[in-house]
């Protein structure tokens, strides 16, 4: 059981992530994805909004999204507090500063805006969409990657 407490290798983690797709489809009839939860929270926090994006959102049929992300939070807690010998380092030290927090804020803004404009994230487009052979998800995944390379190699922010 020792290996469980170490970081999991790709050939364990990757297939397990792939299994999220049939697990959600067969046990709940839901299409795997995380980023619609942002729209869900937005619509919940602004129930009287006149913006069509929030007003026309069907919160009832999308309630599962919030249950799903609650599960992610719970699972991450279990994973890092009970299933890890060495704590996972999430962010570099220089993010714990005013400028670092400003970077996180800017990055988070781009994540929230970008995923909703693109209609999905790494889960909904790259894992679920590609598994379902969606042409747009291939374009989306290439775009995600292009954006990441742009920042890392060109903008170097």
């Amino acid at each position: 059981m020792e290996w469980i407490l170490q970081p999991w290798p790709w050939y364990i983690a990757g297939p397990l992530i792939g299994l999220m797709v049939p697990a959600l489809l067969l046990l709940s009839g839901k299409t795997f994805g995380v980023s619609t939860s942002f729209q869900n929270l937005g619509s919940m926090c602004a129930p009287k909004s006149n913006l069509p994006y929030l007003k026309n959102f069907d919160r009832r049929s999308n309630r599962w999204q919030l249950v799903f992300v609650a599960g992610i939070i719970l699972g991450a807690f279990v994973g890092s507090h009970f299933l890890s010998i060495n704590p996972v380092s999430f962010l570099p030290d220089h993010y714990y500063s005013l400028s670092g927090m400003a970077r996180l804020a800017l990055g988070g803004l781009l994540v929230g805006f970008g995923v909703r404009y693109a209609g999905g994230c790494t889960s909904g487009h790259t894992i679920m969409g590609l598994s379902n052979l969606q042409w747009s998800s291939l374009v989306a995944s290439i775009s995600f990657f292009a954006g990441g390379l742009l920042l890392t190699h060109v903008l170097q922010f």
Partner: protein
């Protein structure tokens, strides 16, 4: 019952996200710098398993455990897939977190990720506000 399954699957997903360290800025950085194959292999093997599963579900017209038809939501193409996609990619490289990992970082006790989360919600509102004017 359905929501219980969803919670269970979400919890399992959260554990895998943390244990595979795909929620770490360092892993994302090494992916974009082509220093490590970890992320590429995880994504590729996840898609391979997911694609086989979707094929089997469609081929044999499998039903859910509640005996309902499985309806997979399509992802229609629009210009935002490219524009929004690139913007998200930039944000992903900065924060080291896509939406799933944002929640996972918070759950792990990395509370600085609450900034990422709050900003992502503002980004979502910005999209909601600009949606009628943006090209789709």
């Amino acid at each position: 019952m359905k929501q219980f399954f969803v919670l269970l699957i979400g919890t399992f997903f959260g554990i895998v996200l943390v244990k595979s360290e795909v929620v770490s800025w360092f892993r994302i950085q090494k992916m974009f710098l082509f220093e490590e194959a970890h992320m590429y292999l995880i994504i590729a093997s996840a898609v391979a398993v997911g694609a086989v599963a979707v094929y089997i579900i469609k081929r044999f017209q499998l039903k859910t455990v509640f005996n309902e038809d499985v309806a997979i939501k399509a992802k229609p193409y629009q210009k935002g897939v490219v524009i929004g996609g690139v913007l998200f990619g930039i944000g992903w490289a900065i924060t080291g977190a896509c939406p799933g990992p944002i929640y996972a970082q918070i759950g792990s006790g990395e509370y600085i990720a609450l900034i990422t989360f709050g900003a992502a919600l503002i980004g979502m509102y910005l999209y909601a506000f600009l949606q009628p004017k943006l090209p789709h």
